[in-house]
């Protein structure tokens, strides 16, 4: 087992070194083959590890001591259990498909840049594996920072474009804000418990050692970390901008894997989170607000990737709603199904963009159905899956979260269903505008329209199949299913707190949410199957089109004041205080030197005078006033 796990992690690292160091040596075929091959091997070993966990339970392997001092011991341990082995499969599986897709999508790049791209991608997989495999928060944090770095590198992959660089910096800095919370939570745990290993932190004994304030603070800080990484309010604005990266990167990092790290982390620490009622509410409220906010913005966007990006933010909000109401298995379920259908949608969008020669505006598309048949059908499957139409995968996972939300509070459910209706609407708006109706692009673009090569359509087909059937791993017992996933996760999240809903209520909820979603998607299909959205006319439409002006708001309340503060420091503090002190010292020395120089006038008499004065001063210093007084009293009294 140790060997298998070691190899799973090692192969992507080897791939990174191979392509990173040999970027000027290998030709593009070698680069593509090796990069994809290493991840594929990693995937095979992940399957082995998964089967091993199925047959003989969770395994922990020790490699070496990462930090070893008197007071704290942090081992470099990996843990493979039900949760992390599932993530392993998703990361390496979807990762392999996206690598394969990238080999065709990125083929216009020069060989060194092609190698750089795959090196980053491999490094990302490596970091992500560290994140999910680590057996303590510190190892998780290493992976956490690693994926953040790779995200930055890949968003700014086309580094000659200043806007892309700006987007990359934005993503990196917003993630740092969240990471600070995560780091503080780790420190808090170390101070209070002296350990960060899951095995010793996530136990009843540890919980007993922590006061309820500690638990609330730690969980909130962890949640701040999750907010940054998983793009929740208020730290979500980096994700839509992150679409500056190549489309497969958006699919892998900003839809399927990295952004779900926050959900993984909270699910992993579910014992802590369950212990704090307050944090649960915060998580749920932030989650549902993000889901609704992002969904409303997605309604009016015209950039194919921006719609998908806001959709991702919205779906992540659903996952946090699930975490907040205690439906951990539902959240993980949604992570898995979302990884499939959102990666599929992004790759489909990539295929469209590829065919359209880097045109991303859906108003200039339309009627692509007949030109890109495979992309069309797979994209449609993705849309149905995310809209929550049974029996596609998105239905099962979303329904599980909504049912748990209803059990907690019907308000969550109502808001969730509104969000689900909007999801169905904007996805089918996107689908209809892109694939139905008449082609609205230039004549030249129409002439060049072509279906993508096999390396791109094969991942689409495989992901479409997965999106369609992945729901099977979590068919609720209500429908005569077994809910394999919940059983799989039981050792980590404990016995699922069965929702106290009757079967009738559950059926009713399900029927309500599904019918609302279907109505929304039919409206969208009907409205957009012939024409695209115009520029928004109403004030609400403009408000949504401009993304609630959140970016401008952040710019005004955070960026501008910080810039002004920096300007103040630069122009006032730096120039007057710091420079003033430095130059003032110099000027003082010069001035006093000019004045003191006059004393040396060549008159020996003055020199003697100063010698005498100096002696008197020295006497006064040596014999302090007490001694002088005593001397004077000796002179007067004794006489």
């Amino acid at each position: 087992m140790k060997l298998i796990i070691g190899l799973i992690v090692l192969f992507p690292l080897v791939g990174f070194l191979f392509n990173g160091l040999g970027r000027n040596i290998w030709n593009k075929k070698v680069i593509a083959f090796m990069a994809t091959g290493f991840i594929a091997i990693s995937f095979v070993f992940s399957i082995l590890a998964f089967l091993n966990v199925q047959s003989s339970g969770a395994a922990m392997v020790h490699f070496f001591d990462f930090i070893n001092t008197d007071t704290i011991k942090i081992p470099f341990d990996f843990k493979v259990d039900g949760l992390s082995s599932l993530f392993l499969l998703v990361i390496t599986g979807v990762g392999t498909l996206i690598h394969l897709y990238s080999t065709a999508y990125m083929k216009e790049e020069e060989a060194p840049h092609y190698a750089r791209y795959f090196a980053y991608l491999n490094l990302f997989i490596f970091s992500m594996l560290l994140l999910v495999l680590g057996d303590n928060y510190v190892i998780m944090f290493i992976g956490w920072e690693g994926v953040g770095l790779c995200s930055y590198l890949l968003i700014g992959y086309w580094f000659t474009n200043a806007t892309y660089n700006y987007a990359a910096k934005k993503a990196f800095i917003m993630n740092r804000i969240g990471d600070l919370g995560f780091l503080l939570a780790i420190f808090w745990l170390i101070v209070k418990l002296g350990t960060v290993s899951y095995g010793s932190v996530l136990t009843a004994e540890s919980l007993a050692k922590l006061s309820s304030t500690d638990i609330t603070a730690i969980t909130l800080l962890l949640f701040v970390g999750a907010m940054g990484k998983s793009a929740q309010i208020p730290l979500y604005t980096w994700l839509p901008d992150a679409m500056a990266g190549p489309t497969p990167v958006s699919a892998l990092i900003h839809a399927a894997t990295m952004v779900t790290a926050g959900i993984y982390m909270i699910t992993r620490s579910n014992i802590l989170f369950s212990a704090s009622e307050f944090t649960g509410h915060v998580v749920a409220i932030v989650g549902i607000s993000t889901a609704l906010l992002a969904a409303t913005i997605a309604l009016k966007q015209n950039d194919i990737k921006k719609v998908l990006a806001y959709s991702t933010v919205s779906q992540l909000g659903y996952m946090f709603l699930g975490l907040g109401v205690g439906a951990y298995s539902g959240a993980v379920f949604h992570v898995i199904t979302h990884a499939f259908f959102k990666a599929l949608l992004f790759l489909g969008a990539g295929s469209v963009i590829h065919a359209m020669h880097h045109e991303q505006d859906i108003r200039k598309m339309g009627g692509l159905k007949s030109k890109l048949p495979i992309t069309h059908i797979t994209f449609l499957i993705g849309c149905i899956a995310i809209a929550g139409v049974p029996p596609f995968s998105g239905f099962f996972s979303k329904d599980e979260i909504l049912a748990a939300a209803f059990a907690k509070s019907p308000i969550y459910w109502v808001l969730g269903v509104i969000g689900a209706a909007m999801t169905a609407f904007y996805m089918f708006r996107l689908y209809a505008t892109t694939f139905l109706g008449q082609f609205r692009g230039t004549h030249e673009q129409e002439h060049h329209l072509h279906e993508s090569p096999v390396a791109m359509t094969l991942p689409l087909i495989l992901l479409a199949v997965a999106s369609a059937i992945a729901g099977a791993i979590g068919i609720p017992e209500l429908m005569g299913g077994h809910h394999w996933l919940a059983h799989q996760l039981m050792p980590i999240i404990g016995e699922a707190k069965e929702a106290t809903l009757t079967h009738q209520t559950e059926w009713a909820l399900m029927a309500a949410s599904v019918s609302i979603a279907i109505i929304a998607l039919l409206i969208a299909l009907n409205k957009y199957k012939r024409q695209a959205d115009d520029e928004p006319q109403t004030s609400l439409g403009k408000f949504l089109y401009h993304k609630w002006h959140i970016d401008e708001l952040y710019d005004n309340i955070i960026v501008q004041p910080l810039n002004r503060f920096a300007g103040f420091l630069k122009n006032v503090v730096e120039k007057n205080v710091i420079d003033g002190a430095v130059n003032g010292t110099g000027r003082l020395v010069q001035y006093s030197a000019r004045k003191l120089r006059l004393i040396q006038n060549g008159q020996v008499g003055y020199y003697i005078l100063f010698i005498v004065l100096g002696i008197i001063v020295l006497f006064l210093c040596w014999f302090n006033d007490v001694a002088i007084l005593r001397f004077l009293s000796f002179l007067t009294n004794k006489s």
């Binding site: 006038n601 060549g602 008159q603 006489s639």
Partner: protein, 111 residues
């Protein structure tokens, strides 16, 4: 006589010498003032020696403790006499060169 009288007297003598050195411009007077300061210190040395010897005699009659400083004073006076001859020679040479004994005239250290 109490020792304080000697101390006051010597302080006064020394101060007169010092003020003279600082204020007068005639080299011979300055020289005399230096002698005044030297002799003030000499006198103080003798006075303290006498006081110490007197105290020692009361404890142990016939002792010579403290008497050595009085002998020392003679040495100082001998050296001072030698120094005076050198100093006066310098002043004579100075007068021959500048036809003046004004010390401020000789501020060639300047520049």
């Amino acid at each position: 006589m109490p020792i304080q009288y000697y101390i006051f007297f010597c302080l006064t003598l020394f101060s007169i010498g010092m003020v003279g050195v600082l204020t007068r411009r005639n080299a011979i007077i300055v020289f005399m003032c230096i002698e005044l300061m030297l002799n003030a210190v000499n006198l103080l040395l003798v006075a303290f020696s006498k006081m110490y010897h007197g105290a020692a005699l009361q404890l142990a009659p016939g002792t010579t403790a403290g008497i050595d400083a009085q002998i020392f004073v003679f040495f100082i006076m001998v050296v001072a006499a030698a120094e005076v001859s050198v100093g006066l020679a310098i002043i004579v040479m100075m007068y021959r060169n500048t036809h003046s004994v004004d010390i401020n005239f000789l501020n060639r250290l300047k520049n």
